[in-house]
Amino acid sequence: MGTRHLITGQNNCAPDGGSSSNPFGTLANTLLGQSSKAESLKGLPGASVNVPTTSDYSTAPLSTLPGSENEFKQDQRPFARGADFIRGGPANDWVESFRPPGHSAFGGPEANFAEFEQIYNNAGPTLGPALDGPPQRVLSGVLHSFLSSGRAGVPFQPVPVPALGLSEGDKQCIRDRSCIMARHILADQPEEYIQAQVNTLLHSLDIDNNHRMKNPLHGPYPEMEEYWNQSQSALRSGPMHNAANNWITEFGNQNNNPEGWITEFGKQNNNPEGWITEFGKQNNNPAGWAHSFEQQYGPNGWASEFEQHQSQMAMGQMGGANMANLAAMQQSRMLAETLSSNNDPKFQNSKFFQFVSKMSRGELIIEDNQVKQGSASQSSGWADEFQTQHNANANSWADQFVHEELSQGADNWVSEFSSEQNQGGLNEKWVDEFSKLKVDDWAEEFSGGAFGESSADPWADEFQSQLSASKSSGASRGVYVFSEMNPYVGHPNPMQEGQELFRKGLLSEAALALEAEVLKNPDNAEGWRLLGATHAENDDDQQAIAAMLRAQEANPTNLEVLLSLGVSHTNELEQGEALRYLSRWLQNHPKYGGIVPPHQTDSPYGPDVVRLFNEAAQMSPEDADVHIVLGVLYNLSREYDKAIASFKTALQLKPQDYSLWNKLGATQANSIQSADAVLAYQQALDLKPNYVRAWANMGISYANQGLYEDSIRYYVRAVSMNPKADNAWQYLRISLGNASRSDMIAACDSRNLDVLQKEFPL
């Protein structure tokens, strides 16, 4: 459906999946102010969520928001729709859409099709389209024969076509859409073939394909391209195209070099050392930035110039379609803010809150009664960088910026850029939004030159307070973040399934199944515990901590949970928390609880805790668990030799415990015995081949020994098992740089596993 929308450039999909009496629909209607549309938002949470991946019809049915299956009806027909699409219903729309407005009163698409069939028959064995008649008909004919050759699987034969007098806009439009269309109808063909076909088509229509070549089909940011193409259909014509297109291309190119924009900045300043030097040269301190800014624009220059630009611009023609979404986003952002002030973790994890906050972040947009995945969640490159910093809070500057940009789409960027050429069209909402964002503070800040010394610099303060505010909201520390698409929601017994998957070592799948379980039974301590353990093995301590905290809430005395929390906090270098949980382990132990003096403080003293554990170990030297906790405690106090001894003792009692082998290895690695560490990790991996954490640790060991090439292979293995292992991705990037493999950094940044796995097999 997303694809159909993409191709047709129209919002003509029928609403589906809606159950008629949905109170959420009414609520959302009120909240989101979409009432201008005649239909009400019947199917809000149940409506299918579309991901704009294009050609993948095989992964039917993409599930909806977590939990929604149980309560709402779901669209059961994605497959049928895909097939329908291939069969050519929308293909007619496609051809249709090439007609300039005014010619569309041509008869229904079916009638047209019949007409073309007739033309083919008359044209004899060459199957060539009619070469005379009005340009529309010729064009349609060519496109239809392109389509049918695609369907028949034969190469498209170039046909001589008289000059059609297409405008630049039309050409652009044909170019973009034929590329997309070709990708669909020739989905099973190699990329070169598709390219060749499109080239042939474009050549016979006398359309220069150079733009396409500069901006290849599978660029690093396909979403960007798609968005761009979509926005094209809205623009259709206008001289702004070429400039804007070049800009997009440039954007793409620069992203191949992840620091491209900075470099570019440097180049523009004719200074090879880049922006930072530029500033340094001017004033020899960072305040130079502020000064040079001031020199150019005056104290309030930036803000006022910005506003000036905006006010010159009329409501853009392309703004309209997105206005509703923007408004909805603003509304939901406000709602999300209100909601997020409620600190109840249950509420924070609730489906409704997640839904609203996704809306507010532009990850979901409402369009024609359908909840769609917005482009914000697909943001890449620098936008991503912004976003990850902020962990999607509802209110920060960068976030806001990202959302405006991405959910509004390329449009605003384009207009912003083209406004320099005095062609503009930007909706005023954005301006308002921007001026609300304390642009004045910025300007003041710049004129104050506070980039230098003052430690109470208000800009930084502002930033800090916004950041800390963000920490108390949605996706912050300690709050579990659920996956967006979960096929296990609605599974009859996700707990059993999760345990089975965990046992098999399919960790990412197990996490999904267990998420489904804890969505169903939020008080299932064992479900949360296993989910936490899964994340720990998958090398994600943040999520492990979040899940373990929920497990602890449901069962405050579970020893495994307390130990896991201690271990994960140790990994995050959070000594105080780690010590607290490990000390609680002893307090809550049925056997050793007695040796703990009453009235323990909440910030225990490390050496005391170690002493108590040593007492426990003397009480029962055969208890491996005590030695494990001791090993972790010695890690905290950096007494690595003792830690190694404790883990080795524990291993004699529990030689099959793969996580114990990993703990031994990690301790050895952190005490600069990386070679021994590799042996221990290998033991862990022999016992559990899908142990992502051990793979990542293996990479770390090699990297810390300066063996970057080797480390890359292990990191790649880790991220291919768990593509969400952010730490491993970051380390991979560092190792690529150190191994002088900058050529693969683009693949790393776009998380292109295929390329990386091929390049770095293990």
Binding site: T277, G280, P286, S455, D457, T570, N670, I672, Q705, D726
Partner: protein
């Protein structure tokens, strides 16, 4: 570094040990600058602790550098960790006011995640 509650202290302890290894020495040789780090637990400039990463000598110490460091950085504990682990690009941190730099820019540019060891996870 023993007494410090900062996460940075834990990483810098590991760095200190790592600089004694062959790989660590190679890094020190490649960079060869002295960096002073002013790290605060939560808010920049508040309750600052000062560390010196001396990649001329290959050593890490606490307290102000005697003399002039090639570059000094001011950030919070979390932001330092994010930079050291590659999560946050130093330029980005600078632009966003999360990092203040004093001193030589060419020295500052070599302050990257590459120079820090990566902690293994239990």
């Amino acid at each position: 570094m023993e007494g410090s509650k900062l996460k940075a202290a834990r990483l810098l302890e590991q760095m200190s040990a790592h600089l004694a290894t062959d790989a660590g020495k190679e890094i020190a040789n490649k960079v060869g600058f002295v960096y002073q780090l002013n790290i605060s637990p939560k808010k920049m400039g508040v309750d600052e602790e000062i560390f010196v990463v001396d990649l001329k000598k290959g050593a890490v110490s606490t307290g102000k550098y005697e003399g002039t460091p090639d570059a000094s950085f001011t950030f919070t504990d979390d932001d330092f960790l994010a930079i050291a682990s590659g999560k946050l690009n130093p330029q980005m941190a600078f632009i966003r006011g999360k990092l203040k730099i004093k001193g030589s820019i060419s020295a500052a540019q070599k302050f990257t995640p590459d120079i820090f060891p990566k902690p293994a996870k239990l």
